[in-house]
């Protein structure tokens, strides 16, 4: 069935056949794209698979007119085109949903959608009503539910992404580029997005889906092209490749999914949390009477859909937000009202959930970021004076040990790829002597190689006798790492349970709010009096 979504507008959305031929792009010191050939047929979902830094985003930025290729050409329906800017690409029918959304938070959905291609009535008045109608129509047609009058700032990340997609469709995008769209989504939102992609495909639109998540790639792809080191290393259809084959293509060597590890040998209690409640910035109870312990030599993972209090729990444990009630102790030391520095000094390592906001200083060098919480202690400081030579020497060591891909320790951390930024954070925290490691979403948005590496380091930490607490909304990760597993739902915690007593399905149920009652002893909604 082919409905024409642009019937009400002067421009038609036409099917596009997109060809990239020999695209090459060099950045100082990096060959980001090396003679890449790629064809996107009309009405197909073409998955671009590759590790961070494989050149996926660069290639798409070229296609979208943000970069100019050094060599090669782009053909649309067989005709060579040259894009000077994204507006050229948009006019040709190419739409892009970036990793970081390009929306104006104080505008409504409809206003954001019409921005830049405003419909006007006589006297140049904005035709908001038509824009609203168009948003509703596109939303209904492709299952992109969003209220046209809602302010973007009040929307969830998933809803904002839907607005971005509607924005592209509104501009008659025949080809839609989605740059790592699922990196920011919850599992439910991801499923929803994959359904939207199906319906777009049925309507004759082509999709370029950039990802490094193999499951999603296999689920929706008509064709999968794998990039590595700026080159196409293979192209296949999902039926002909298994996940581990794809993973091997991405990283260049066969890779085990999941972590081999000996059973845990837990000893004494390190983290002791009792009846902890935390209120969020609006005064709502975000963490509700949570009690659990983490012992030396074990990994406790906390599963849960994002936004169920995990973030607030970790911030409270680190002394970053005040707690309402309860008690926190680490290795027998009371840290209930400790400052972040006191908590870190007590031997707690912390890999924060949002590495760009909380984990790194983008404008600081890699070397400086590697000492961000230990810059004031010897050998990095001699009294009040820093020792830049020591900082640099240590940075070079960390870069080697953790295989951080950076030209040198003095480049700004913000210029590294996401995976390497996370390696900087991990290298810093894992190199400090700690008794307890708290890591939130330690591998979110990372490529398979980095995930495998970070998981190995976490297990190594455990086997060394540290207590480890991992918060993750990635069920695979929760299962791969957890010796004991807890689930958070609406501020309450179920468990932790022995991992061997749990099934994937049971955890999934608890994440959705079912099954917590089954554990009994669930108090009422009121906090402790």
């Amino acid at each position: 069935m082919k409905t024409n979504p642009a019937a009400s507008s002067p421009v038609e959305t036409k099917p596009l056949r997109l060809e990239l031929k020999g695209i090459t792009k060099r950045f100082p010191g990096v060959l980001a794209n090396d003679h890449i050939d790629l064809t996107v047929e009309p009405g197909e979902v073409h998955v671009l698979l590759g590790e961070n830094g494989a050149g996926k985003t660069t290639l798409m930025n070229i296609l979208y007119g943000l970069y100019h290729p050094d060599e090669g050409e782009i053909l649309v329906n067989g005709t060579p085109v040259k894009f000077q800017s994204p507006s050229d690409a948009i006019r040709t029918g190419i739409g892009m949903v970036h990793q970081h959304f390009m929306l104006i938070p104080v505008f409504t959905v409809a206003e954001n959608v019409m921005l830049g291609s405003e419909l006007t009535r006589s006297f140049g008045l904005l035709d908001r009503r038509r824009a609203r109608r168009e948003v509703q129509r596109l939303g209904a047609q492709f299952g992109l539910a969003v209220d046209p009058d809602a302010r973007v700032a009040s929307l969830s990340v998933g809803a904002q992404q839907r607005v971005e997609i509607i924005k592209a469709l509104y501009r008659h995008a025949g080809v839609l580029i989605l740059d790592e769209p699922t990196a920011v989504l919850t599992p439910q939102e991801t499923d929803e997005l994959l359904r939207v992609m199906e319906s777009l495909k049925r309507a004759g639109r082509s999709l370029v889906f950039i990802t490094h998540k193999l499951k999603e790639a296999k689920q929706v792809a008509d064709r999968i092209t794998v990039l590595r080191g700026g080159r196409v290393v293979g192209s296949t259809v999902p039926a002909k490749a298994t996940e581990s084959q794809l993973a091997a293509m991405m990283v260049g060597h066969a890779i085990r999914l999941g972590v081999d590890r000996p059973p845990a040998k837990p000893t004494n209690v390190v983290l002791d949390v009792a009846n902890l409640s935390v209120r969020d910035a609006r005064g709502q109870v975000a963490v509700n009477e949570v009690t659990f312990q983490v012992r030396a030599g074990e990994i406790v993972t906390i599963a849960g859909v994002q936004g169920n209090g995990q973030t607030e729990l970790v911030r409270a444990l680190m002394g970053l937000d005040p707690i309402a009630t309860g008690r926190i102790a680490v290795a027998g030391r009371d840290l209930t009202s400790a400052s972040p520095r006191q908590t870190l000094d007590a031997g707690v390592g912390h890999v924060p959930e949002d590495r760009q906001r909380d984990g790194l200083i983008a404008d600081f060098s890699v070397g400086e970021n590697l000492v961000l919480d230990i810059y004031y202690v010897p050998p990095f400081a001699n009294g009040p004076v820093l020792e830049p030579a020591e900082i640099r020497r240590s940075a070079e060591e960390r870069i080697r040990e953790f295989d951080i891909r950076t030209p040198s320790p003095i480049v700004a951390a913000g210029t590294l790829s996401g995976g390497n930024q996370q390696r900087v954070v991990v290298a810093r925290e894992f190199s400090r002597p700690v008794v307890l490691m708290i890591a939130s979403q330690p591998t979110r948005g990372l490529d398979v190689g980095s995930i495998e590496y970070i998981h190995e380091r976490i297990v190594k930490l455990r086997d060394k006798g540290d207590a480890v607490l991992i918060v993750s909304s990635d069920l695979d990760e929760v299962l791969a790492l957890g010796d004991r597993i807890a689930v958070m739902y609406q501020g309450r915690m179920a468990g932790p349970f022995e991992a061997t007593d749990l099934t994937r399905e049971r955890i999934g149920l608890m994440m959705a709010g079912a099954g917590t009652e089954a554990e009994g002893a669930v108090p009422t909604d009121e906090g402790r009096p």
């Binding site: 929306l103 760009q356 009040p384 820093l386």
Partner: protein, 421 residues
């Protein structure tokens, strides 16, 4: 009730302001390329200002024909910029003969412009550093003017109160008093920001007025007012508390110039070689990550504002102890506000601040000569200063004007996250 400013509403605005500051101090292009932009911005400013010079001369418009008008216009511009240059650096036509005479008056004549430039530049170095230090810590210290006044008042008070002590005690004591009073003027907005989230731009502007009118009050009290005078002027600073003259020969250049350079070096060392400086820069670049890494953001804000205030206070001490030797209303003559421009032009970098202060010091010194020997008003220098800053603030304009490479700048701007990134 949380006392942390991090959770205050208006955090988005605060981070937007921080983004602006980051853009100033961490330009996206190389050091050479941004130096080129500054030089070209200066040239452009001179060209645009030439239009104002020509427009302000009625003779050009009343000229009988176009050639004469053009000649008049050329005369105006060449005369104005020529005297500006000779007022700042020296008159190229006489400097040679002045030097070869070897007499005291010859040397004095040759070096007078340079001495004036240095005297004008020294307080700008201090205030430029005061604003630059704030930038590094993510703070917009608009209050340098008030901090200068507070510092000058305190330095003057100590300066005229001490008598007959050895100079090596009197002078440091007076300078220290200037630093301390300026630091107090910075400490208050710092504390207000750390405790309540009050924005430093608002509080420092208000404290500027407090300082200005406190000066009038103090100059009317028996402690300050010079005996036998009814106008607002303080007692004279004791000679032991004066910054020593460096050259003699009736030139005004004094030890404050050396102090300015030493302090600039100290600020550089503080920012890039000390634990405290690391914290300043960390909080300035990303307060969230700093807090997560255990840095006390509130403490850094208070400390950075206090130090910035102290630096501006040194400018006040420098003016009172090195040039004026007594406190009068308006002694600061806007060096605090010019410090903002100097810090912007110097990209929040101590070496850049010295260079920018020399440039603006030269413009100030040259302006006096220009006014004396041509019909161009001294205010033109303010126009040039403003235009330089405008063009420096719009590097894209300068790059487009002179067809410098731009691809990278545009690409970065185009893909930078709209929000939440």
């Amino acid at each position: 009730m949380s006392s942390e400013p991090d959770h205050a509403p208006g955090r988005d605005r605060a981070s937007a302001a921080r983004a602006v500051i980051q853009k100033i101090i961490a330009p996206e292009s190389s050091a050479w390329s941004s130096l080129l932009v500054v030089v070209l911005a200066f040239v452009t400013a001179l060209v645009v200002s030439a239009v104002f010079i020509i427009a302000s001369d009625p003779a050009v418009f009343q000229a009988p024909d176009f050639t004469i008008a053009l000649y008049n216009a050329w005369q105006d511009v060449a005369g104005a910029y020529g005297s500006l240059l000779s007022g700042a650096l020296g008159d190229p036509s006489t400097i040679g003969s002045d030097l070869t005479t070897g007499t005291a008056s010859g040397l004095a004549h040759a070096f007078y412009p340079l001495s004036e430039t240095l005297v004008a530049a020294a307080p700008l170095v201090f205030t430029g550093l005061a604003v630059a230090l704030g930038f590094r810590a993510g703070l917009f210290n608009i209050g340098a003017e008030g901090q200068v006044i507070a510092g000058g008042l305190a330095a003057g008070w100590v300066g005229f109160s001490v008598h007959g002590w050895p100079g090596f005690i009197e002078l440091p004591l007076a300078i220290l008093a200037g630093f301390a009073a300026g630091a107090l003027w910075g400490f208050v907005p710092g504390l207000l920001k750390a405790r309540t989230g009050a924005h430093e731009v608002i509080t420092t502007i208000m404290l500027n007025y407090v300082a200005i009118y406190l000066t009038y009050y103090f100059l009317g009290t028996r402690i300050f007012q010079r005996p036998g005078r009814s106008d607002p002027i303080s007692k004279a600073v004791d000679s032991g508390a004066m910054l020593p003259n460096l050259a003699g020969l009736n030139l005004r250049v004094h030890a404050g110039v050396i102090l300015a350079v030493l302090v600039a070096i100290a600020v550089y060392f503080l920012l890039w070689r000390t634990v405290v400086g690391f914290e300043f820069r960390a909080v300035g670049a990303n307060p969230d990550a700093s807090r997560t890494a255990g840095i006390g953001v509130g403490r850094v804000v208070v400390l950075a504002m206090s130090m910035a205030g102290g630096l501006a206070g040194l400018a006040g001490a420098n003016v009172i102890l090195g040039v004026q030797y007594s406190v009068t209303p308006g002694f600061s003559s806007g060096v605090g506000f010019d410090g903002i421009t100097v810090a912007l032009l110097g990209r929040g970098n101590p070496a850049g601040v010295i260079a920018a202060a020399l440039l603006f010091g030269g413009l100030r010194a040259g302006a006096v000569q220009m006014q004396a020997s041509t019909s161009t008003p001294v205010d033109l220098v303010q126009v040039i200063e403003a235009l330089v800053i405008m063009f420096v603030a719009a590097p894209a304009l300068i790059r487009a004007l002179f067809r410098l490479r731009t691809e990278r700048v545009i690409a970065r701007a185009a893909i930078s996250p709209g929000w939440g990134g």
